[in-house]
């Protein structure tokens, strides 16, 4: 049993060392060297600290992430409360829809904002036509809006779970001791869900800080960290890998700090009240209930509208950059006329990456959950590092690491798959260790006791028992890999262009119709498997012992 765990842990640690830590070390190394000579220096950092531009870039990124976190909490917490405690009509559907923004590509949402409210946006032109000018959505406002609308489920989901895990007796005890409804909410309910709020909020902060696609689409002239790193590394005119390295290290420092704060805080506070009876729905006046329904549905609909708009625009004709109101599949024709290749690449790469991620992540998750040792603790920690590393930075590290030397991967498909696997690995580890936690360890012990070796027990008993959960993880990894932009845009080669890359270039250039079609394809590619898996799990929930 121990040997099996040790082997898994060692193999996983070697893989992570080669494809995660080594590339990151090279990025760190580049940041403390003079670009041309390779001499040791802190000059790159000094340049950043002295440069108004880079300081602005750091400031903008932090500000946007902080604002998005605040707003995501501001809409996520009331929404969670409504879904948990108020009889909102269509609650089940609302829950399914509310989780969609997490897996739909956020830069598509950003692009939809451009389509609607950009310089030549549908709404902008319409309003301008009747004499109402609207402010620019480029820069900070648009970016914060998109982050808020795509990331709020990170707050909603844990907080909702928190509200539902509070046993009815908690509140009843508070009321029985003489507290008013609002006093009890303030002193009992909120403190219990506080860890969930913090956990979700910090995730929003980290994701917003790292995100490349949204500022790439919406920033215009405003500097943002993730975009600047990309330009400094891959830019044609003003490339400066050393400065890119220094900025990367600063970005990683920010996200790592946020992650450590979260872990530290959650390590001390875990309120599990093991709810036996869920609290009753609040009795509200019809007016208040209507208000809650409007708010809940309003948030979810507004967050999904951009995606609907993209789907709609994709079937309209463009005349040059100008949108007409004629229906037609011209955009799709343009998208596919070049080649089916990008779409095929997207599907292939996502499939290979998803299978590989789960094959590597499931044993790691199992070992982390079952075998507490120093080695598995280390594995647990390193396995979470990708959370703190943006896709762009990982991709840069991979290029630096595998552009020459014994293992050359740049320009091929494998480097893309490796980037996806490393980036999605924390998710695979977390989801499979969560499943393992629900499996009684004595099941495995019974199997071993009956004469089946630990490794065969894992393959023949544990994996089948984890299967339904693993399929869910597989689909989610597949979806997020298919819509991955930040590392793809650094790592792709002409042979391995993906749909996200096509869309990115179409937005950068003038292919508005092409971008809309590519975005629509991405939405369909991600939404369809998600809906399938949702149906599957809701059917299976009752049969899982």
């Amino acid at each position: 049993m121990k040997r099996f765990a040790t082997i898994v842990a060692l193999v996983a640690l070697v893989l992570l060392a080669v494809f995660l830590l080594y590339p990151l070390a090279l990025v760190l190394d580049a940041s403390i060297r003079v670009d041309s000579t390779g001499a040791f220096t802190f000059g790159n950092y000094a340049t950043i600290v002295k440069s108004r531009y880079y300081l602005g870039s750091i400031g903008n990124s932090l500000l946007a992430a902080a604002l998005a976190t605040g707003l995501a909490c501001a809409i996520g917490i009331p929404l969670a409360f409504s879904l948990a405690r108020i009889d909102v009509p269509g609650r089940a559907l609302l829950l399914t829809l509310a989780s969609l923004p997490l897996v739909l590509p956020s830069f598509v949402s950003a692009y939809a904002l451009v389509l609607l409210f950009g310089h030549a946006g549908v709404v902008t032109t319409a309003l301008r036509g009747i004499g109402i000018p609207i402010g620019s959505i480029y820069g900070m406002p648009g970016i914060v809006i998109v982050f808020t609308l795509t990331l709020y489920p990170y707050v909603l989901m844990p907080v909702l779970a928190g509200f539902q895990a509070v046993d009815a007796s908690m509140e009843e005890a508070g009321r029985n001791l003489g507290g008013s409804q609002s006093y009890v909410i303030r002193t009992v309910l909120l403190p219990i869900v506080m860890p969930a709020i913090l956990a979700g909020g910090l995730l929003v902060f980290i994701e917003a800080l790292e995100n490349f696609g949204v500022p790439a689409v919406l920033a215009e002239d405003r500097p943002f960290l993730a975009v600047d790193i990309f330009k400094l590394f891959a830019g044609e005119s003003d490339a400066n890998p050393a400065a890119a390295g220094a900025l990367s290290v600063l970005l990683i420092a920010c996200t790592a700090l946020a992650l450590l704060v979260q872990r530290h805080y959650l390590g001390k506070r875990r309120f599990s009240t093991a709810a036996r009876s869920a609290p009753a729905k609040l009795v509200l006046t019809p007016a208040l209930r209507l208000l809650a329904a409007i708010m809940s549905w309003g948030i979810v609909i507004v967050s999904l509208l951009p995606f609907a708009a993209v789907l709609m625009v994709s079937v309209l004709r463009f005349r040059g950059p100008v949108l007409t109101w004629e229906l037609g599949l011209d955009n799709y024709a343009t998208l596919l006329s070049g080649s089916y290749r990008p779409l095929l690449n997207t599907l292939t790469l996502a499939s290979v990456a998803a299978v590989a991620t789960m094959l590597i992540g499931a044993p790691i998750g199992y070992v982390v959950a079952r075998h507490r040792s120093r080695l598995s603790g280390l594995l647990d920690f390193i396995g979470m590092v990708p959370f703190a590393v943006s896709g762009t930075i990982l991709a840069i590290g991979l290029i630096v690491a595998f552009n020459s030397g014994p293992l050359v991967l740049t320009g091929g498909w494998l480097i893309l798959v490796i980037a996806y696997v490393v980036r999605k690995l924390p998710f695979a580890i977390r989801s499979s260790s969560a499943i393992v936690h629900q499996l009684d360890p004595s099941l495995e012990e019974a199997s071993i006791n009956l004469g089946v070796s630990p490794s065969r027990t894992f393959a023949a008993l544990t994996v089948p028992l984890m299967a339904s959960g693993l399929v869910g993880g597989l689909v989610l990894v597949w979806i997020t890999a298919a819509s991955e932009l930040s590392s793809t845009v650094v790592l792709y080669s002409s042979r391995w262009v993906t749909t996200t890359v096509v869309m990115y270039h179409a937005i950068e250039g003038t292919g508005a119709g092409l971008a809309a079609a590519a975005a629509a394809v991405l939405i369909l590619v991600t939404a369809i498997p998600l809906l399938l898996i949702n149906r599957r799990t809701s059917k299976q929930e009752t049969t899982v012992i």
């Binding site: 099941l443 012990e445 199997s447 071993i448 630990p454 028992l465």
Partner: protein
């Protein structure tokens, strides 16, 4: 023949000595119970035998074969888990066949052995069912069949009945005992339920904080406890502190609770502090017969049907529980004096620390 020899076995978790230098010899065909409160190390000891907890020092042998260095899946033990651990993704028959497949038994033989095992636990015809269609007691039987069918060297039971209701628990322990005796298997049985341990065992080891307090037959464990802990853990005895007085050649007088007790034998030097264990059923309402008696006062009476429990106080206020048959005529009211007779041989004295 599978006798089990456990020599100087030890295991710590951090600063806690979970199993502290335990040696036990278990004879072939014996049902040997590890009894103790939670945290006494009984489950750790069982899991060391099964191979799920590593041995720090000491050794475990089945017959002449040392097994503590073997991996768990080569130890040939059949374990029945507290929560049954029935594989939910396999049918009842597949669960029972699991260990036979691992041993590469030919399919035809597997079928007949599985059928026989299910028949033995009175689950004939349940083979094709899924586990979630079975009740707790039936799942328990599947778990037993699954452990029996591999004809293990040793059967291990980890609190197998603790998830069943009281009625089923007493039925199942009789079935387990009969199966174990019929098959002549050596079995180690872990429980915290003293009644279960007394009812089922050939011998019992009472464990406390990783150490063995006493190993004996159920009768001797109950009637002749060697330590105050054993006396208190088995049954709800009255522990009364006192001071030994003179030995009269047959009994020792002990001053305790404002009165005096006679205890058989020379239990301590005069002036030594002792602890007396007085079983509630060793005290009876005094009738005209002679013999030593003690004066108490009735505080409360509980009528429980077959028996009634009297809560009395000794002269200095020490509470004393007395068991009497439910049918015994009794008309004293709380506060009334109560004369209690006893047999000096049934009072056990321990040195007070």
């Amino acid at each position: 023949m599978t006798a089990i020899r456990i020599e100087n076995l030890a295991r710590s978790f951090g600063a806690v000595r979970a199993v502290d230098n335990i040696s036990l010899h278990i004879a072939h065909g014996e049902l040997f119970t590890l009894l103790g409160p939670s945290g006494c190390g009984k489950t750790t000891l069982l899991r060391m035998i099964a191979g799920f907890v590593e041995v720090e020092t000491g050794s475990i042998s089945f017959g002449d074969k040392r097994i503590d260095n073997l991996p768990a899946h080569h130890r040939d033990t059949g374990m029945v888990f507290q929560n049954y651990a029935i594989f939910p993704n396999h049918t009842v028959a597949e669960n029972v066949a699991y260990g036979l497949k691992a041993r590469k038994v030919p399919p035809a033989e597997i079928k007949s052995r599985v059928d026989k095992a299910l028949e033995r636990v009175r689950l004939t015809g349940y083979g094709p069912r899924a586990p979630h269609q079975l009740s707790g007691g039936q799942l328990q039987r599947v778990a037993i069949a699954r452990a029996l069918v591999i004809e293990p060297a040793v059967l291990l039971f980890d609190e197998p009945l603790s998830n069943l209701d009281a009625q089923l628990r007493t039925e199942m322990r009789i079935e387990i005992r009969q199966l174990q005796q019929a098959l002549g298997l050596t079995a180690i049985y872990v429980t915290h339920d003293q009644e279960e341990a007394l009812a089922i065992s050939d011998r019992i080891a009472v464990l406390r904080q990783g150490k063995v307090e006493q190993v004996d037959t159920p009768e001797r464990i109950y009637l002749r406890p060697q330590t105050a802990f054993v006396a208190e853990f088995l049954g709800s005895t009255n522990m009364v502190p006192g001071v030994a007085k003179a030995f009269d050649g047959r009994n020792t007088q002990v001053a305790a609770a404002g009165t005096e007790f006679s205890v058989r034998g020379e239990i301590a030097k005069p002036g030594a502090k002792v602890l007396l264990s007085l079983r509630p059923e060793a005290l009876r309402l005094a009738d005209s017969s002679d013999g030593p008696r003690v004066e108490a006062r009735l505080a409360l009476r509980e009528f429980l049907g077959p028996v009634q429990r009297l809560h009395a106080t000794l002269p200095d206020g020490t509470p004393l529980r007395v068991a009497a048959l439910g049918g015994a005529a009794f008309d004293a009211v709380p506060g009334a004096p109560l004369a209690l007779a006893y047999d000096p041989d049934q009072i056990i004295a321990f040195p007070a620390s």
